[in-house]
């Protein structure tokens, strides 16, 4: 199952179309890592709107993707996690800690744009 990856400006956008097997996920991870270097992308968006389940393996793989891509100097954003899926993940104890998430493609792109402009444009969380 191939996941289509498009280049949009300095970003790569991978849109998951349907349920992915473990092998599919690994393939996606490896492809993205290679492509990021190849096209010198500054950011990667993985759109998981079509996933009806994100379990421990998928979470781990997405974390790996973000980590490996950061090592290549680019930022990853996971977008489109469905409400039910988000709830299941959290109940299972998976938090995608350290990985940026946005509501959808539009938000994801906006986030990458802001991040690209420098730290003063970031939305910071306030600590009491």
């Amino acid at each position: 199952m191939q996941v289509p990856i498009l280049k949009q400006g300095a970003y790569l956008i991978a849109t998951v179309q349907s349920a992915l097997t473990d092998d599919d996920l690994k393939q996606l991870r490896d492809t993205l890592v290679v492509q990021v270097s190849k096209v010198r992308a500054r950011g990667v968006i993985v759109d998981v709107t079509a996933l009806d389940v994100i379990d421990s393996f998928a979470t781990r793989t997405l974390r790996d993707v973000a980590h490996m891509i950061r090592l290549r100097g680019a930022e990853t954003v996971i977008v489109g996690i469905q409400p039910e899926v988000a709830f299941s993940m959290v109940k299972l104890g998976l938090t995608l800690e350290g990985v940026s998430t946005s509501l959808d493609l539009e938000e994801g792109l906006a986030y990458l744009d802001r991040k690209g402009k420098g730290p003063e444009h970031e939305v910071r969380t306030h600590r009491r």
């Binding site: 349920a19 389940v53 379990d55 299941s88």
Partner: protein, 138 residues
């Protein structure tokens, strides 16, 4: 991959990677017929995915059965994940968060237990493992 439909029951043989997806899709379908709302469907499908993955990773081969259950008017779904694998010698350890023999997030059993309403496990060294979980409609 083979599967059989027996009225209110679905069986999926777990013998490869792709079977994990099949198991959770079939399980989800059955749960949907029971009338579970979408949040519960995601939860059940995720639990099936975790259990099926355990079978593939640790036992190579096994089976997932998803069936409707009825307890005096209370309706729900039961998932039985069984395999003839090496078994889990120390169940208590396995049920703790963070335990793993092969690195990573471990068997995900504590997490799976959190997802479902009822959780039973029978396993012993060399005797295979059977995990039974249930989720009831509210």
């Amino acid at each position: 991959m083979r599967f059989a439909l027996i009225a209110d029951e679905v069986r999926v043989a777990i013998d490869c990677d792709a079977a994990i997806v099949t198991a959770r899709q079939k399980g989800r379908e059955l749960a949907s017929q029971c009338g579970f709302p979408s949040t519960d469907l995601a939860v059940i499908a995720t639990a099936i995915s975790e259990l099926a993955r355990n079978i593939v990773r640790y036992a190579v081969r096994g089976e997932i059965i998803v069936r409707r259950v009825d307890d005096n008017g209370k309706r729900g779904v039961e998932v039985v994940a069984s395999d003839d694998g090496p078994g889990i010698p120390d169940l208590e350890m396995a049920m703790q968060d963070g335990y793993s023999t092969s690195g990573g997030l471990g068997l995900g059993l504590p997490g799976t237990r959190r997802l479902m309403d009822e959780f039973e496990i029978v396993s012993d060294f060399g005797k295979g493992t059977t995990v039974t979980v249930r989720r009831w409609k509210r």
